[in-house]
Amino acid sequence: MLKIIRVDMTSREVRSEVKKEYEFLGGRALTSRITYDEIEPTCEPLGKKNKLIIAPGVLGGTIASSAGRISIGGKSPLTNGIKEANSGGISGAKLVKCGIKAIIIEGKSDDDNCYILKINKDGTNLIARNELKYAGTYDCVSKLHDAYGPKVGVLCIGPAGERELRAAAIASNDPYGELRFAARGGLGAVMGGKGLKAIVVDDEGTGLIEYKDKDEFMRIAREYNTKLATDPKTKNVNQKMGTSAIVKAVNAMGALPVKNFRYGSCKYADELSGEKLYETITSRGGKGKTGLPCMSGCVIQCSSVYPDANGEKIVSTMQYETVALVGSNLGLENLDSVARLNKEINDLGLDSIEIGCALGVALDEGLGNFGSEADCMALLKEIWKNTVLGRVIGNGALMTGKVLGSHRIPAAKGQGFPGYDPRGLKGNGVTYAMSTMGADHTAGNCFGDRARVNPIGKEGQGELSRGIQIKIATLDSLGFCIFSRPPLFADPSSLSGMVNSLTGSDFTPDTIWNYGMDAIKLEREFNVKAGVSPADDKLPEYLYDEVLEPINSTFDLSEEEMKKAVIQ
């Protein structure tokens, strides 16, 4: 049975244990269960009582495509509630191959050393590597590759995490050494608060994965992989444009954040679109590339490298959320500006959504001009310099708005909005307000169901959000990427079949969704004990009064409609 690694940062002891009761859990279901079982709900999120829990999904490390995501959980310093943020990259699969189900980081280091946790076939060790102190994420990953080889998995924080800024993320390297992020909720600050800079996972010489029925697993997984690979969206959209493929659609429906969520669409959306991203990457050539996998064996391959006019790399991978929050939300009209800011945000180790919201609020309050890359870059430099202003912005949208006196702070449960204005996509407004994760589209993005539910209608939004929250929490628990949805949702027997033949469980296509349902119930209970919910199940008041143009919409859902999304 896979083991749990427990790392006490106070005593710097590392222990290994096996927990039978967690046998069938993984990913979000496991991080949330351990959070519920072990973390005092009222604890200080950046204190010694909070824990950082890292768990690959149930299907991580197998041949099932796009199932190697890594879940990171604990109590969020942004929402003060439970958090799970997951990321692509190679560490999830490598942890499974090392025989590890979860890592629990607890306590708090009381010295100034910069620690890394090194995992390989011989065991797990805490090592001080003070040359990494306050290193940017790119430099950190590069130095760890130099020290431990080009194939190791790395989870690390940047200076933002080390300085316990609440917008800090945790970076995860991909097969090419590029970075993905478990971004939301400020878990990078929790890691930094413990004194842990990085986790290095080396699966060289480790054992094979145990299957209950390997032949059956391979049969179902291959069938699913083929369906996913041959879905027209995979090759024609996801491989070319990644998540940015939706820019034009969100703009057309009037839900794109523009200038601190003041407008729902802009005239320059085509310049920020996935089509433009693909065209720019292919026409500039050089280091520019599309169609790269962020996890080994992934057939979707939605990562890209965005080059400058000379073909030199600026950043990998520019996502829709970054284009929305750091692009149109800041009034920036071209992808080059977004790419340069994205690189800086990544290097600091920040969540581009949270920091995009914080910068939007700052510009709105006069700390710069919308549309000025230089003004935004100057504010990011304040974070590098760790000035008071830098610390304010690095602590997220709500902190920035409170300090600057803003009454238009795009945040729910303390967390900045993702790239969908709740007045233009009301189902997501429900998710931001009602989900256990606060304003986090990954907790239940209703964007995919626009065909049957009017995004600005008053009906059906609560039920829509509830259903997608449960399904996504299930995928988060099994390790799947959001782009793997089409074949899995069309035929959930592939989900239950893969899980059963791997673990020996007895899920059906109906009960497989209990992964999500059970996780969310525990999360809500934790939040209630932490004092977060249900009083915080709401959106900022300005959204109810201020009309979003050009679609002429306010957030007008009844309390009754919102409550339909509660899972308890």
Partner: protein
Amino acid sequence: MVNIRVHLTLTRFYSKNVIALDIEHPVLLVDILNQLGIPSDEVGMVVKNGKWEPVECEVSDNDSIEVFPILSGG
């Protein structure tokens, strides 16, 4: 004149992504899509004159229509 812009994967059913049509009477969008060979069950969102509409909506002269495939979100 009705202008229809077809996006992303839907372009595989019809060679042009901007389509201009003359219509004399209001017609259902699904009927137009059928004529163009675009299956309506692959349509994820329709925006008419800047506002969401169901795929069963009526199209009149001078309307501007955008048709997107089903997409998962970012």
